[in-house]
Symmetry: C2
Subunit: 344 residues, 2 copies
DNA sequence: CTGAAAGCGCTTACAG
DNA sequence: CTGAAAGCGCTTACAG
């Protein structure tokens, strides 16, 4: 009578040991050969790979993580899922990481520094192979955690003010420059009383505000009374409300620069409702070039931000770091683009 | 001179064994006490918990997964991240699962049955504790995988046509009924020539189409020529294009029911551009009540779908299944709501 | 109810 | 370049 196969464990799963037996080598060699570690005889590699394929072997991620003290997970921390910006970032990063053999674990921080810290702690316990984190602003405990861990980390969306040696790896664009560039665009279109309207007020929004302020100060047109800052999350409804408030309080404004497209889209809708003509009475500009902005009536002038490319490039950089390589540039500036449409 | 602590391993991590030593019990007892397995002396439980807290012990997920052959991961398979519907689903499910101590691993299928199968295979190798899958339509191999695995699974967004005993666990609403209900709403508003315009054409969209068709046939007003089906993904731009096409080819239509709000929003914008008045010349209705629909001019009549509640309830159901409990209802119907606004 | 022991399936110094 | 052995940190029958 046939004996049960000795090389198959009780779980029925094909293991490294099974492959070793089939290939006539030791488990250590199989391990090395399969992971492409050099210093293995090419002939053995071939034999191991043949056996592995024949048996349909797939490494057990849990065992691998336990033994190597490193999982194949990458944690990505983003502020919100309700902002399409971050969804695009997540989508692109996830795709690239998956192609590199990594699983993506997402954490939503809700723009809350202590929730971010908490999430980071949890993730670190899972020994992620890498970390993708939104922004460069973190509370001290979070910075401490990231500094002390050996886990490679790339920051998204932002760049350090001055390229410093100690600044962490990051992929993004200059938020301040983008804010200033759009303001100059409005000035070039002949606008004089340009308001800035913002929601959420996260650090990147504040940088755009700073860019707006600087550009206006440079031409002596800055007016503090034209800053409209609201801490609530960005949305079409809030954009409409801000627009109404601005037109009521400062009817003389001739342009409004919103820190995000959903606000600007809401403003466009409110203008339609109120019978305020855009851009003849007031110009409206947004930020990010979110979906739908090219469909508005009038179409929305905005800053196109390379969020998908940021997600992909950051994932690529992380892939390099996880492989022990140092990327050519630690700070990758992917730029931005002013998209001029009908609303300005 | 002080000896190095014997109860801390080289990795510096506090382990189960450390807690056992500190509490004066065996590792097995610590394991049982911490997981709340009954049949442990309450006094010991207390001692173990005290020691665990004092040492700051956190179980290693990899070791746990390896030993128990089950991770604390839940995989969620959704079609797209570019449709806000699925992002809301993901957000809600993720929040609930996290509260229950599980990590969420997402997979994006791009509405591709073989990509779904591939993702499922990969996920299964990671021995997820549970599975959340969009829809009830899968290719035979996928169905086979789900049937043969022991991993608990809950399906999202849809319900079986007839409540059958063998149907899998699911949380959703009746897509066909929702399609019919909106059509009857339009009929009740006096519309006679009601078109149906759809994109993506996934199974749930086809059910809405079926509902529309049935409701119109019931009153003898169904006209096959008023079905406009486009396989591309849903978007504002496509909605605008469909609207233009319909108004050109069938200028006599007095209502258009779009299968998703982004299409309807795009149609509203196109109407504005073309100077077609909504609802007086043509009524427009959408589906899902996505963000922004209440801000359109005119505001958009739509079907509000309980996607956040679906995500949460499905996660709750899965939590029960993973704990070995059987939920009261295997098929949870969370319903829908017609939201009547200005566009109809 | 509790503990000793084996085992989960890998990786990685350590010898050779 | 290769292998034997130890170890990663848990869980889980199996005895008692």
């Amino acid at each position: 009578m046939p004996m049960p196969l000795k090389n198959h464990r009780a779980t029925g799963r094909v293991t490294l040991a099974d492959v070793a037996l089939a290939a006539g080598v030791s488990p250590s060699t199989v391990s090395r050969a399969l992971r492409g570690e050099r210093a293995v005889d090419p002939l053995l590699i071939e034999r191991v790979q043949a056996a592995s394929t024949r048996l349909g072997y797939v490494p057990d991620p849990a065992a691998r993580a336990l033994a190597s003290r490193r999982s194949n997970h990458v944690a990505i921390l983003i502020p919100l899922l309700s902002n399409a910006l971050f969804v695009d970032l997540l989508d692109a990063a996830q795709k690239t990481l998956r192609a590199g053999g990594y699983q993506t674990l997402m954490g939503v921080t809700h723009y809350d520094a202590s929730e971010e810290e908490q999430l980071l702690r949890e993730q670190l316990l899972h020994r992620p192979a890498g970390l993708l984190v939104t922004g460069l602003d973190h509370n001290p405990a979070t910075r401490q955690l990231m500094a002390s861990t050996q886990v490679p980390c790339v920051h998204l969306m932002d760049l350090p003010a001055q390229p410093q040696a100690e600044a962490p790896h990051c992929v993004g664009f200059r938020q301040t420059d983008a804010g200033a560039a759009m303001t100059r665009h409005l000035l070039a279109r002949g606008r004089q009383r340009i308001a800035f309207a913002a929601a959420q007020l996260d650090p990147r929004v504040m940088q755009r505000l700073y860019g707006w302020r600087t550009a206006l100060q440079a031409v002596g047109l800055h007016d503090r009374a034209l800053e409209f800052l609201h801490p609530a999350p960005s949305s079409l409804a809030l954009g409409g409300a801000l627009f109404e408030q601005i037109m009521r309080q400062r009817p003389a404004v001739d342009a409004i620069f919103f820190c995000n497209d959903d606000l600007a889209q809401g403003a466009l809708m409110a203008a339609l409702r109120l019978g305020i003509s855009v851009p003849s009475q007031v110009a409206i500009a947004g930020f990010n070039d979110l979906t739908g902005s090219d469909q508005m009536v009038p179409t929305l002038t905005t800053v196109r931000t390379p969020r998908a490319r940021i997600g992909e490039a950051a994932a690529q950089m992380l892939l390099q770091l996880m492989h022990g390589e140092e990327p050519e540039q630690a700070h990758l500036d992917l730029g931005f683009e002013i998209v001029h449409r009908q609303s300005t």
